[in-house]
Subunit: 346 residues, 4 copies
């Protein structure tokens, strides 16, 4: 069986990564790549890594039409666009995986506040499934519309979820200090993401105001069964890819108890690797993969737990998880096209 897939917004970094991964998937054929900016151009002229790989030309995508032609549509668009274009009719015809933010937040008002825009298809929020595979696998199987999680959020939520769900930390003390590679900022031209402006420098940005904050809080609140408010600070790091989330909270259990819980939650998850005691994640080991590496330490002196999570922001933080979602939705092996060692050094 081979399904047909369309990538809408295929010329951003996420869309391109998606195409790369799907190309290696033996049950998928990418039949359409769309781009507003590059419509009419050969894909391999834009992304020359696709030379001798792709023969497709970019189209100016029409969702209604694509829905007739393919089995699954991946949307890799800026927020606010998907919610205008997706509707029940499209969802009857094909499955949709939205890599943007529009269907991630269950509470329309939270979305509208943080994204400062009206939500145009709030009726779909209820049926949309939050595509954090390790958490919502069963719902994803039946979903017609999946909201693929954000990059920072995937890393942060998976790092903390077992602790929150099992009541092992004081949830009023959570601090997440996250570091991302520059590809997270996308391919738009901007003085701030020029080589000479990013290289050899690290900075915090959007302190106390980054839009991934409510998404992390939503999921950890669901897990805790109570409202969680936390501090989240993103940083821009001079590297192409990778997110490292260093998470802090007051611990309410000892190392062994916590270790056991992590193993219970994640011991059978292929894409989650717990590091050994005293060893911590580094983004280089997950670069190019769908893995999440998680490690933690207890600081006996302060009573804090420090949990470190690492992902590739474009893969488990975007395109890879989207493919994982697709695998689940279509009943393929969940690891298909994703079960490779990362390229190193890369």
């Amino acid at each position: 069986m081979k399904i047909k897939a369309a990538i809408v917004g295929a010329t951003g970094y996420v869309g391109e990564e998606l195409y790369r991964i799907l190309h290696t998937h033996s049950n998928v054929e990418v039949t359409a790549v769309t781009s507003v900016s590059y419509a009419g151009q050969k894909y391999s002229d834009i992304y020359r890594n696709f030379g001798h790989i792709s023969q497709l030309e970019c189209k100016d995508g029409d969702l209604e039409k694509l829905a007739d032609e393919v089995d699954v549509i991946f949307l890799a668009l800026p927020h606010g666009i998907a919610s205008k274009q997706i509707n029940a009719k499209i969802l009857e015809k094909c499955k949709v995986i939205d890599l943007g933010a529009d269907y991630r937040l269950k509470d329309q008002s939270v979305y509208e506040k943080w994204y400062a825009t009206a939500h145009e298809s709030a009726d779909l929020l209820k049926s949309a499934v939050y595509g954090l595979c390790e958490v919502y696998r069963d719902d994803i199987k039946k979903a017609q519309l999946v909201a693929n999680p954000g990059c920072y959020t995937t890393c942060s939520i998976l790092s903390l979820l077992p602790l929150v769900k099992e009541g092992l930390i004081d949830t009023s003390t959570i601090v997440i200090d996250a570091k991302s590679g520059v590809s997270g900022a996308g391919r738009g031209v901007n003085i701030d993401t020029l080589y000479c402006e990013c290289n050899e420098s690290i900075k915090a940005y959007k302190i106390a105001s980054h839009r991934h904050t409510p998404e992390i809080e939503q999921e950890l609140s669901f897990a805790a069964g109570k409202d969680i408010v936390l501090s989240f600070t993103p940083h821009l790091t001079p590297m192409n890819r990778g997110i490292l989330a260093t998470c802090y909270a007051k611990a309410k259990a000892d190392y062994k108890t916590i270790r056991t819980v992590y193993e219970k939650y994640y011991g059978n998850e292929f894409f989650i690797r717990l590091t050994k005691e005293g060893v911590f994640p580094e983004t280089r080991w997950v670069k190019g993969t769908n893995f999440v590496d998680i490690g933690f330490a207890l600081d006996e002196r302060t009573g804090n737990i420090v949990v470190v999570g690492a992902i590739d922001n474009l893969i488990k933080g975007a395109a890879g998880q989207a493919v994982q979602n697709m695998n689940i939705m279509f009943g393929f092996d969940e690891t298909q096209a994703l079960d490779t060692a990362g390229i190193f050094p890369a």
Copy 2:
């Protein structure tokens, strides 16, 4: 007036940076550079940036002899060596600025615990002055032995000190998440600091166990008038230089009050630059300089303050502050050889 200076351990990155800065100082002549590994070699053959600048040859340094020849000795050595070599006799003859860790911690037992070695000249701990210039300026003026602060510590302490001293944060909640460039790891050969192992990756290391922790705690405790225990996590970032410390704590005052306090403490300090509201430090703006950039935000949702500090780890975090200390000790203009804009992009 021109004083004579010796740099002991001149072929590490800190010693070399010290030499570079002192070379531009109109009141100082560097008359001796020493190195165990490179004794007998021309300095400019080891560090070719010194071609046409330095004619010196590395000597195998004997402190007693150097003390007879120079006015000030800078020690840029691994910990545990200075404490074996410095003694009262040397200090009678010349001033000493130790860039290592041996005289930073006032409590010998804390030193011996964290550094896992005996302190060989604990009698000097009392008279040694902790060389954090903005805090101990008056003591430094009279000091014969200055313990130059660590890199992470300089950045962390200066970022938090006004808050701690004025009781504006809950000191039981302090978390410092710090990111350093690779030069902080020194020039020793090690698989972990090879180009391909560091490039394109970020990691946390020595979680809850880094030796700069007790130094930060000592100084913040002095400021608070009570014992402070805090979480400190260093990270290795793919860049040559720079430290960014992102500091978190529960705030006990509003933005304006806090801003006023920072301005009271630092408004007249040349080397401390407070960023405007909504603007935050980035290591590129302090690279190559002795500046500390500090900015903060209040997270209304969590009640946390987030303070960000940035320095060049080899300058304000080592060699630059050492020169600033020397300037104070010898009555030179405190900013001499240090009052330059940073090189950018660098």
Copy 3:
């Protein structure tokens, strides 16, 4: 059909890349990885990108024994070792692909001069096939011992071969200016490959003396049917991977003639991509792949042709070409495990 493979010297960058690629090959099972330095350790503890992928432990490899157990042995060793260990008996039992230099040069005296060591199995030089797949495909099919080409050499030879073979350039004027990422220097600890020594700097090294020179000359001389001597200058570039070879020579034909020749030679080669007129290779587009990108320009003013070739030094320049050789030797599809778009940005 699934063959068994052993990787000898599996913990260098080339060995590790080989393992990564072979892991994705549906007709190969890697059953042994060997390492002198890491014998007894779990492979995924050394290279953590192999977590949840590899369960193997490093062995201290014995070639005779391995030859009994596997169908193909890959040797990723420093030069001078393979020639001591490989012998006819081993080659009767299994195929060997040597990624080192020992069997590349057909003339023993040239080897011994450039490598300053005696060749211990010169009797095998004649039967060993130089594994430049696009050139020696037919010989490789029948080979028992393949000498996998060097990284600089693969890029340089493929860039120039059609010109040389068809007499389109003055072969007495060839200059190859090549730039390599740091992974080419291997994983050995060395002050010169520390992060802070390589980052933000480019240099030429081994001018007029690099060991890949005679290898390039040998192959171009074979192609030309006469002895070619050329200038080759390698450079170390601040990036993990990639080789760019910029090649110069006096041209003896016009653009169209040359273009036609390149297309004749490479038009049907999957792994060679000719760039369009006016477009030139960049290492980012081949990173992570087995592709060679080749483009050229004619400088009307000087009469020179400038040919630019780009490869990933660890893939087409080492591990990837080794797998391509294996595919040819065992009758697999030549592109198997190698027909993917490169990861970008990476």
Copy 4:
């Protein structure tokens, strides 16, 4: 004595570097910085490395007016603008150092062909002095208008000039393969200079068509006393700063003869450092300085000489040489504000 200086186009990388250097010059006060894009903004808000250093605000520069107010105007503008604005009247009032391309080429038609634009003040071409300090020092002393050389050109010309002038190479065989850091591309927003597009990749560009080619040829032709045509290929290298020029030609003399000539030409030049035999320039050793490092090897096998030159593109390749020119024009010590060791690692 303290002269007044204006920097026109102060918010590009070259203008900013100029300001940084001039700030350390004890005989110069920068009284005006101009910028079309940032007029009205505080300079230290644009380039935060100037915090606590500069109090200036950007003006929208009027050259006539500036000429009344300052002693020297530095122009750091895209080509084609200076030639429209500079005139004899301005040059009567103050000295001008143009860091752009407009007055470098003595032959108007060559300028107009390569730059594809009309020259608006060709009458000034004759009196304008080409500001390659080591070559035209005496003319610069008397100049009112100096055309500051290009970055690639400075490095290339100085590397080859003694060979050309003394007839030590076959000038019909010159190939210059040059590698530049990304700052050479300026601060304009462009997808090609985004961090993720440049990082981890090297490429050649503008092959056989870069505008610095006629400038190099002009100067080498003057030196040779005959027309020289050569191949010049620029490359974009993933680093902020630095140019390495690897130059090839058939040699007509032996090592010792050539060495002697280099020493005759450059032995007394402070800013030119000849590397020892067997040692070659690396951009890291000149980063942050006005030095040119030059080294060479003879390839006995091919008869080629390989000369390697290294500079910091923004300093000796732009702002530093402009200050050196100013020092000569105003009778200051030629090395003033420029006689520092480079910052390393940087």
